[in-house]
Symmetry: C2
Subunit: 159 residues, 2 copies
Protein backbone atom coordinates (compact mmCIF):
# COMPACT_ATOMS: atom_id res chain seq x y z
CA UNK A 1 0.00 0.00 0.00
CA UNK A 2 1.35 3.43 -0.95
CA UNK A 3 1.72 5.97 1.84
CA UNK A 4 0.35 9.51 1.65
CA UNK A 5 3.91 10.78 1.18
CA UNK A 6 4.40 8.49 -1.83
CA UNK A 7 1.89 10.67 -3.67
CA UNK A 8 3.81 13.91 -2.98
CA UNK A 9 4.90 15.58 -6.21
CA UNK A 10 8.68 15.43 -6.79
CA UNK A 11 9.27 19.05 -5.75
CA UNK A 12 7.85 18.22 -2.28
CA UNK A 13 9.54 14.86 -1.83
CA UNK A 14 12.81 15.99 -0.22
CA UNK A 15 11.79 16.51 3.42
CA UNK A 16 14.26 15.10 5.94
CA UNK A 17 11.35 13.87 8.02
CA UNK A 18 9.09 12.32 5.40
CA UNK A 19 10.35 12.85 1.84
CA UNK A 20 10.42 9.59 -0.15
CA UNK A 21 13.26 11.11 -2.22
CA UNK A 22 15.46 11.88 0.82
CA UNK A 23 17.61 8.76 1.14
CA UNK A 24 19.25 10.07 4.33
CA UNK A 25 16.00 11.12 5.98
CA UNK A 26 13.50 9.37 8.21
CA UNK A 27 11.01 8.68 5.40
CA UNK A 28 7.99 8.65 7.67
CA UNK A 29 5.05 6.85 6.06
CA UNK A 30 1.51 7.93 6.91
CA UNK A 31 -1.68 6.11 5.93
CA UNK A 32 -5.33 7.01 6.11
CA UNK A 33 -7.47 4.36 7.79
CA UNK A 34 -11.12 5.19 8.30
CA UNK A 35 -11.41 8.53 10.09
CA UNK A 36 -7.80 8.69 11.21
CA UNK A 37 -4.31 8.72 9.84
CA UNK A 38 -1.54 6.58 11.27
CA UNK A 39 2.25 6.31 11.00
CA UNK A 40 4.58 3.89 12.76
CA UNK A 41 8.30 4.43 13.27
CA UNK A 42 11.29 3.71 15.49
CA UNK A 43 13.29 6.95 15.69
CA UNK A 44 16.72 6.59 17.32
CA UNK A 45 17.40 10.14 18.49
CA UNK A 46 18.28 10.29 22.16
CA UNK A 47 16.88 13.00 24.39
CA UNK A 48 18.61 14.66 27.33
CA UNK A 49 18.08 11.50 29.32
CA UNK A 50 19.46 8.37 27.73
CA UNK A 51 16.60 6.01 26.98
CA UNK A 52 14.16 8.66 25.84
CA UNK A 53 13.39 10.27 22.50
CA UNK A 54 14.47 13.90 22.07
CA UNK A 55 11.66 16.42 22.11
CA UNK A 56 12.45 17.87 18.72
CA UNK A 57 11.96 14.46 17.12
CA UNK A 58 8.52 14.18 18.67
CA UNK A 59 7.61 17.59 17.23
CA UNK A 60 9.07 16.50 13.87
CA UNK A 61 6.97 13.35 13.71
CA UNK A 62 3.81 15.27 14.54
CA UNK A 63 4.70 17.96 11.99
CA UNK A 64 5.35 15.61 9.06
CA UNK A 65 2.44 13.35 9.91
CA UNK A 66 0.12 16.33 10.39
CA UNK A 67 0.92 17.85 7.00
CA UNK A 68 0.38 14.47 5.32
CA UNK A 69 -2.89 14.03 7.20
CA UNK A 70 -4.15 17.45 6.09
CA UNK A 71 -3.51 16.54 2.45
CA UNK A 72 -5.21 13.15 2.78
CA UNK A 73 -8.28 14.62 4.49
CA UNK A 74 -8.48 17.39 1.87
CA UNK A 75 -8.55 14.83 -0.96
CA UNK A 76 -11.40 13.06 0.80
CA UNK A 77 -13.24 16.32 1.54
CA UNK A 78 -13.18 17.16 -2.17
CA UNK A 79 -14.26 13.72 -3.30
CA UNK A 80 -10.87 13.05 -4.83
CA UNK A 81 -8.39 10.19 -4.60
CA UNK A 82 -4.62 10.56 -4.20
CA UNK A 83 -2.91 9.84 -7.49
CA UNK A 84 -6.06 10.52 -9.52
CA UNK A 85 -4.09 12.51 -12.08
CA UNK A 86 -5.45 15.88 -10.96
CA UNK A 87 -3.29 18.59 -9.41
CA UNK A 88 -1.58 17.32 -6.24
CA UNK A 89 -2.91 18.71 -2.95
CA UNK A 90 -0.12 19.61 -0.54
CA UNK A 91 -0.25 21.36 2.83
CA UNK A 92 2.39 23.24 4.79
CA UNK A 93 2.38 23.93 8.51
CA UNK A 94 1.14 27.29 9.73
CA UNK A 95 1.36 26.40 13.42
CA UNK A 96 2.08 23.39 15.56
CA UNK A 97 1.42 22.96 19.28
CA UNK A 98 2.83 19.99 21.17
CA UNK A 99 1.99 18.99 24.74
CA UNK A 100 4.48 16.53 26.16
CA UNK A 101 2.61 14.21 28.51
CA UNK A 102 5.42 11.90 29.61
CA UNK A 103 8.93 10.89 28.47
CA UNK A 104 8.83 8.89 25.23
CA UNK A 105 10.85 5.65 25.43
CA UNK A 106 13.61 5.19 22.86
CA UNK A 107 14.02 2.08 20.74
CA UNK A 108 10.45 0.79 20.48
CA UNK A 109 7.81 1.52 17.88
CA UNK A 110 6.00 4.83 18.14
CA UNK A 111 2.53 5.32 16.72
CA UNK A 112 1.50 8.75 15.46
CA UNK A 113 -2.17 9.41 14.76
CA UNK A 114 -4.10 12.28 13.22
CA UNK A 115 -7.75 13.29 13.08
CA UNK A 116 -9.39 16.07 11.13
CA UNK A 117 -10.87 18.69 13.46
CA UNK A 118 -11.87 21.27 10.86
CA UNK A 119 -11.36 22.05 7.19
CA UNK A 120 -12.31 25.32 5.56
CA UNK A 121 -10.98 26.34 2.17
CA UNK A 122 -7.18 26.16 2.26
CA UNK A 123 -7.01 25.69 6.05
CA UNK A 124 -7.15 22.38 7.91
CA UNK A 125 -6.86 21.70 11.64
CA UNK A 126 -5.49 18.33 12.67
CA UNK A 127 -5.49 16.77 16.16
CA UNK A 128 -2.38 14.66 16.69
CA UNK A 129 -1.14 12.11 19.17
CA UNK A 130 1.99 10.06 19.73
CA UNK A 131 1.99 6.85 21.72
CA UNK A 132 4.48 4.15 22.68
CA UNK A 133 2.53 0.92 22.92
CA UNK A 134 -0.65 1.90 24.76
CA UNK A 135 0.97 4.85 26.54
CA UNK A 136 0.07 8.32 25.32
CA UNK A 137 3.31 10.34 25.33
CA UNK A 138 2.37 13.55 23.47
CA UNK A 139 -0.61 15.25 21.90
CA UNK A 140 -0.60 18.08 19.40
CA UNK A 141 -2.62 20.36 17.20
CA UNK A 142 -1.59 21.58 13.77
CA UNK A 143 -3.05 24.28 11.61
CA UNK A 144 -2.00 23.51 8.05
CA UNK A 145 -2.52 25.64 4.96
CA UNK A 146 -2.77 24.36 1.42
CA UNK A 147 0.20 25.35 -0.69
CA UNK A 148 -0.78 26.85 -4.04
CA UNK A 149 2.30 28.01 -5.94
CA UNK A 150 0.64 30.71 -8.05
CA UNK A 151 -1.28 32.32 -5.19
CA UNK A 152 1.72 32.16 -2.86
CA UNK A 153 3.94 33.60 -5.54
CA UNK A 154 1.64 36.62 -5.86
CA UNK A 155 1.56 37.05 -2.09
CA UNK A 156 5.34 36.86 -1.91
CA UNK A 157 5.77 39.56 -4.51
CA UNK A 158 3.37 41.95 -2.81
CA UNK A 159 4.92 41.62 0.65
CA UNK B 1 32.72 31.19 26.88
CA UNK B 2 30.80 28.13 28.06
CA UNK B 3 27.30 27.65 26.72
CA UNK B 4 24.28 26.96 28.93
CA UNK B 5 24.31 23.35 27.74
CA UNK B 6 27.93 22.95 28.85
CA UNK B 7 26.67 23.24 32.43
CA UNK B 8 24.12 20.41 32.03
CA UNK B 9 24.86 17.56 34.44
CA UNK B 10 26.13 14.40 32.69
CA UNK B 11 22.79 12.57 32.90
CA UNK B 12 21.20 15.38 30.84
CA UNK B 13 23.99 15.80 28.30
CA UNK B 14 22.91 13.24 25.68
CA UNK B 15 20.23 15.13 23.76
CA UNK B 16 20.49 14.77 19.98
CA UNK B 17 19.67 18.45 19.60
CA UNK B 18 21.87 20.02 22.26
CA UNK B 19 23.72 17.47 24.38
CA UNK B 20 27.45 18.24 24.63
CA UNK B 21 28.04 14.49 25.12
CA UNK B 22 26.21 13.46 21.93
CA UNK B 23 28.98 13.37 19.34
CA UNK B 24 26.51 12.60 16.53
CA UNK B 25 24.03 15.29 17.51
CA UNK B 26 23.62 18.95 16.63
CA UNK B 27 25.19 20.23 19.87
CA UNK B 28 23.27 23.50 19.86
CA UNK B 29 24.97 26.10 22.04
CA UNK B 30 22.84 28.72 23.80
CA UNK B 31 24.13 31.77 25.64
CA UNK B 32 22.50 34.33 27.90
CA UNK B 33 23.19 37.93 26.88
CA UNK B 34 21.43 40.62 28.86
CA UNK B 35 17.71 39.92 28.91
CA UNK B 36 17.75 37.37 26.12
CA UNK B 37 19.28 34.06 25.18
CA UNK B 38 20.79 33.40 21.77
CA UNK B 39 22.01 30.42 19.75
CA UNK B 40 23.47 30.35 16.25
CA UNK B 41 23.56 27.30 14.00
CA UNK B 42 23.56 26.08 10.39
CA UNK B 43 21.30 23.00 10.31
CA UNK B 44 21.43 21.05 7.05
CA UNK B 45 18.11 19.24 7.08
CA UNK B 46 16.11 19.81 3.93
CA UNK B 47 12.39 20.45 4.04
CA UNK B 48 9.80 19.35 1.50
CA UNK B 49 11.10 22.02 -0.85
CA UNK B 50 14.79 21.82 -1.58
CA UNK B 51 16.46 24.98 -0.29
CA UNK B 52 14.45 25.22 2.91
CA UNK B 53 14.88 23.84 6.41
CA UNK B 54 12.46 21.10 7.43
CA UNK B 55 9.79 22.12 9.91
CA UNK B 56 10.71 19.56 12.51
CA UNK B 57 14.22 21.00 12.72
CA UNK B 58 12.82 24.45 13.42
CA UNK B 59 10.70 23.01 16.23
CA UNK B 60 13.78 21.14 17.51
CA UNK B 61 15.92 24.26 17.66
CA UNK B 62 13.21 26.17 19.52
CA UNK B 63 12.70 23.24 21.89
CA UNK B 64 16.35 22.77 22.84
CA UNK B 65 17.04 26.50 23.02
CA UNK B 66 13.89 27.09 25.06
CA UNK B 67 14.75 24.47 27.68
CA UNK B 68 18.27 25.92 27.99
CA UNK B 69 16.83 29.42 28.27
CA UNK B 70 14.46 28.38 31.05
CA UNK B 71 17.37 26.97 33.06
CA UNK B 72 19.51 30.08 32.54
CA UNK B 73 16.70 32.45 33.53
CA UNK B 74 15.91 30.32 36.61
CA UNK B 75 19.53 30.57 37.80
CA UNK B 76 19.32 34.33 37.45
CA UNK B 77 15.90 34.50 39.13
CA UNK B 78 17.33 32.69 42.17
CA UNK B 79 20.46 34.78 42.31
CA UNK B 80 22.60 31.84 41.33
CA UNK B 81 25.31 31.32 38.72
CA UNK B 82 25.63 28.30 36.44
CA UNK B 83 28.44 26.07 37.64
CA UNK B 84 28.32 27.51 41.19
CA UNK B 85 28.61 24.03 42.71
CA UNK B 86 24.99 23.91 43.88
CA UNK B 87 22.43 21.48 42.49
CA UNK B 88 22.04 21.89 38.73
CA UNK B 89 18.80 23.48 37.54
CA UNK B 90 17.32 21.71 34.52
CA UNK B 91 14.01 22.20 32.75
CA UNK B 92 12.01 19.92 30.49
CA UNK B 93 9.37 20.96 27.98
CA UNK B 94 5.74 20.76 29.01
CA UNK B 95 4.43 22.37 25.82
CA UNK B 96 5.79 24.03 22.72
CA UNK B 97 3.89 26.13 20.19
CA UNK B 98 5.52 27.11 16.89
CA UNK B 99 4.12 29.58 14.35
CA UNK B 100 5.84 29.28 10.99
CA UNK B 101 5.96 32.75 9.44
CA UNK B 102 7.82 32.01 6.22
CA UNK B 103 10.03 29.28 4.71
CA UNK B 104 13.43 29.13 6.44
CA UNK B 105 16.33 29.14 3.98
CA UNK B 106 18.76 26.23 4.16
CA UNK B 107 22.52 26.61 4.37
CA UNK B 108 22.90 29.97 6.09
CA UNK B 109 23.21 30.78 9.76
CA UNK B 110 20.01 30.73 11.79
CA UNK B 111 19.66 32.75 14.98
CA UNK B 112 17.40 31.46 17.75
CA UNK B 113 16.45 33.83 20.57
CA UNK B 114 14.59 33.44 23.84
CA UNK B 115 13.05 35.80 26.38
CA UNK B 116 11.57 35.05 29.77
CA UNK B 117 7.85 35.84 29.83
CA UNK B 118 7.03 34.44 33.27
CA UNK B 119 8.58 32.32 35.98
CA UNK B 120 6.67 30.92 38.93
CA UNK B 121 8.04 28.12 41.08
CA UNK B 122 8.99 25.22 38.82
CA UNK B 123 7.28 26.69 35.73
CA UNK B 124 8.84 29.08 33.21
CA UNK B 125 7.35 30.53 30.04
CA UNK B 126 9.77 31.43 27.25
CA UNK B 127 9.04 33.46 24.10
CA UNK B 128 11.12 32.18 21.19
CA UNK B 129 12.04 33.33 17.71
CA UNK B 130 14.07 32.02 14.79
CA UNK B 131 15.52 34.28 12.14
CA UNK B 132 17.68 33.95 9.04
CA UNK B 133 19.68 37.15 8.77
CA UNK B 134 17.15 39.87 9.57
CA UNK B 135 14.17 37.82 8.41
CA UNK B 136 11.89 36.43 11.08
CA UNK B 137 10.99 32.87 10.00
CA UNK B 138 9.26 31.42 13.08
CA UNK B 139 8.12 32.40 16.55
CA UNK B 140 7.27 30.12 19.44
CA UNK B 141 6.25 29.84 23.04
CA UNK B 142 7.42 27.18 25.44
CA UNK B 143 6.16 26.25 28.86
CA UNK B 144 9.00 24.48 30.63
CA UNK B 145 8.92 22.74 33.99
CA UNK B 146 11.87 22.25 36.29
CA UNK B 147 12.92 18.64 36.56
CA UNK B 148 13.41 17.50 40.14
CA UNK B 149 14.28 13.80 40.24
CA UNK B 150 13.02 13.05 43.77
CA UNK B 151 9.69 14.82 43.36
CA UNK B 152 9.11 13.33 39.92
CA UNK B 153 10.04 9.90 41.21
CA UNK B 154 7.40 10.17 43.94
CA UNK B 155 4.82 11.34 41.38
CA UNK B 156 5.71 8.47 39.07
CA UNK B 157 5.21 5.89 41.78
CA UNK B 158 1.82 7.23 42.80
CA UNK B 159 0.43 7.45 39.28
Amino acid sequence: MKAIQDYYPPEFAHCFGCGPANARGLRLKSYIEGDETIARCVPLYTGGFPGHVYGGMIASLLDCHGAASAAAFAYRDRGRTMGDGGPAIRFVTASLKVDFKRPTPLGGELIVKGRLTAIDGRKATIALSLQAGDELCAVGEMIAVEYRPKIDSVVDQSS
